[in-house]
């Protein structure tokens, strides 16, 4: 009986080696880095990196605007490669969660994360693992996603007008403290939304950012309102991203025995934490799913006549990355539709960068649609649009995963109500 079950699993799932998975993801990261040289010369990229590293980086700071396009892509690819290196060093499996983390970091490295502002946070998480005498691998996701608070480090260093040496000292001390605080908080806060908010660290970072901002304000320190976003590059970016995502679908198709098998099964999963599609359905079909989400993200921006820029490309990258860890078209679309409907009835323009980000990052609530159906998904998206536009003030733009904070609040409120009106959950 047990042998039969194991045989059936082995027949239906092609096992891809860790080495191969690492190489494939690293190649995509390298492609993003090299894409930078299509737009700018090495010297321009170097100068742009200087601007990125010394920027306060709070929401919304598009590195394509404050530096240049080439530097933004270079920074994104570089950050992804470093994340892959850290994961490899800690002997992490290149499964859905690491893939999601890598592309999320790459996405946010277009508008907020850079080598300077992530190091102290990651080091803080590492210190926590040493203090607890546990393997760093247990906290690798917190170390990677925790970089959401990078702007905290940059803002203190460059944004509050402190002498540089003092800014560096206090900024990195805050980063270290954040890294040490995040692991216990992340483990605890996941219960708040019951795994229905995929950006758990985003919610956690939002709370930590809120604390820091409250303390800053009590000393008379305020973060400025920033809205630096680029525009006018839709055609070029659409071609670039189209090739990128189409190649993912093609590579996935080839690695999935030249088929789309398991895709329907993948899309039947609710997607709640933890839904590692690489483990349950295979690496190849997961790549197909990621590519499809990426393509749809680009189409959405065009349909609403929005702009492809650092933040929106970051949103598309994050949505695509979580195509390995909970999201698929079936559970993401209702959320996006809910956000879209909200923009038709509420104050915000559907094609504003903020509204597009709410639609793309709002898919953090995809598990609600996956578990409770499309109507619940639309409702979640509709509510998310209002909440996300109100929580940014709390952390003053210090938490890059603003939608994760909002998603946590929406999920924690909606899920108990939806549960109350359901008889039972399914076996799966």
């Amino acid at each position: 009986m047990i042998e039969n079950v194991e045989k059936r699993w082995a027949i239906h799932h092609k096992v891809i080696s860790e080495d191969t998975k690492y190489k494939v993801i690293a190649l995509y990261a390298l492609a993003v880095l090299l894409a930078g040289f299509l737009f700018n010369t090495p010297l321009e990229i170097l100068k742009g990196m200087g601007k990125i590293l010394t920027s306060s980086s709070i929401l919304l700071t598009d590195y394509m605007k404050i530096a240049n396009i080439g530097s933004a892509f270079f920074n994104s690819g570089l950050m992804m490669l470093i994340a892959i290196g850290v994961a490899r060093k800690s002997k992490a499996h290149m499964n859905g969660y690491i893939i999601a983390a890598v592309f999320t970091i790459g996405g946010f490295a277009m508008f907020g994360k850079n080598l300077y502002n992530v190091v102290s946070i990651t080091t803080g998480v590492y210190l926590f693992s040493r203090i607890q005498r546990e393997k760093f691998g247990k906290f690798i996701l917190i170390a990677l996603f925790g970089t959401a608070l990078g702007p905290l480090v940059s803002q203190i260093t460059f944004g509050f007008g402190l002498p540089l040496w003092m800014g560096i000292l206090i900024g990195n001390a805050a980063g270290l403290a954040t890294g040490i605080l995040l692991p216990p908080l992340a483990t605890s806060f996941v219960k708040f939304h019951q795994g229905f908010n995929l950006y758990n660290i985003g919610f956690t970072a939002g709370i930590v950012g809120t604390f820091f901002m409250a303390i800053f304000r009590s000393f008379g320190l305020e973060t400025p309102s920033v809205y630096e976003v680029s525009q006018g590059n839709n055609q070029t970016f659409a071609i670039l991203l189209g090739v990128f995502f189409a190649s993912m679908i093609l590579v996935g198709y080839i690695m999935n025995d030249k088929s789309f098998k398991h895709l329907r099964k993948l899309m039947r999963q609710p997607g709640r934490l933890v839904s590692d599609f690489v483990t349950t359905e295979g690496f190849g079909v997961t790549m197909i799913n990621m590519g499809l989400l990426g393509v749809f993200g680009v189409i959405y921006v065009f349909v609403v006549k929005g702009q492809l820029n650092g933040p929106t490309i970051g949103g598309i990258f994050t949505m695509m990355g979580f195509g390995a860890f909970g999201k698929h078209l079936k559970n993401a679309l209702p959320i996006m539709l809910g956000v879209f409907l909200a923009t038709q009835l509420k104050l915000w323009d559907v094609n504003s960068t903020g509204a597009i980000l709410a639609a793309l990052f709002g898919t953090t609530l995809a598990p609600i649609a996956g578990q409770f159906g499309w109507k619940a998904g639309i409702l979640a998206g509709f509510l998310h649009m209002s909440i996300v536009m109100n929580v940014g003030y709390l952390h003053g733009g210090l938490n890059l995963y603003n939608n994760g904070l909002s998603g946590g609040i929406v999920a924690a409120t909606l899920v108990p109500i939806l549960d109350a009106f359901r008889e039972e959950d399914s076996f799966e």
């Binding site: 009986m1 047990i2 079950v5 194991e6 059936r8 699993w9 992490a92 499996h93 499964n95 969660y97 690491i98 393997k135 691998g137 247990k138 906290f139 690798i140 996701l141 917190i142 692991p183 992340a186 483990t187 605890s188 996941v190 219960k191 019951q194 795994g195 758990n200 609710p270 709640r272 934490l273 933890v274 839904s275 590692d276 483990t279 349950t280 578990q371 549960d419 959950d425 399914s426 076996f427 799966e428």
Partner: protein
């Protein structure tokens, strides 16, 4: 109670939840915990369980331990929704046996 013991409680709760969902209401649970490892073993009397449910159970806890998912351990057994995949990620070994009358699941988590 240590954090490790707390994790074992959550794993046990999730497995009991799964047995209930499968319609098994007469369950025996054995839990051991020492400095090296913890085991949770559940046995339930059942005359007929659809093969699809056994396959799903086996698949979900078939994978090797994934340290990276340790952060989410409080989701196991903590709500109405299945976290069987998470249990699979939190344990090093899993045995699933079904002889027609009895279903036995044993998971081992090394410290």
């Amino acid at each position: 109670m240590s954090k490790e013991q707390a994790k074992v409680v959550y794993i046990m709760s999730e497995l009991v939840r799964v047995f209930f969902k499968m319609g098994i209401t007469d369950i025996r649970v054995d839990v051991t915990n020492n400095a090296l490892e913890s085991t949770v073993e559940l046995t339930g009397d059942v005359k007929l369980i659809p093969i699809s449910k056994i396959v799903h159970l086996k698949e979900a806890i078939h994978g090797a331990r994934q340290l990276e998912l340790e952060e989410y351990w409080k989701l196991a057994g903590g709500n109405l929704h299945s976290e069987l995949d998470l249990v699979g990620a939190l344990v090093d070994e899993a045995e699933v046996e079904h002889d027609g009358d009895t279903l036995r699941v044993k998971v081992t988590r090394k410290v």
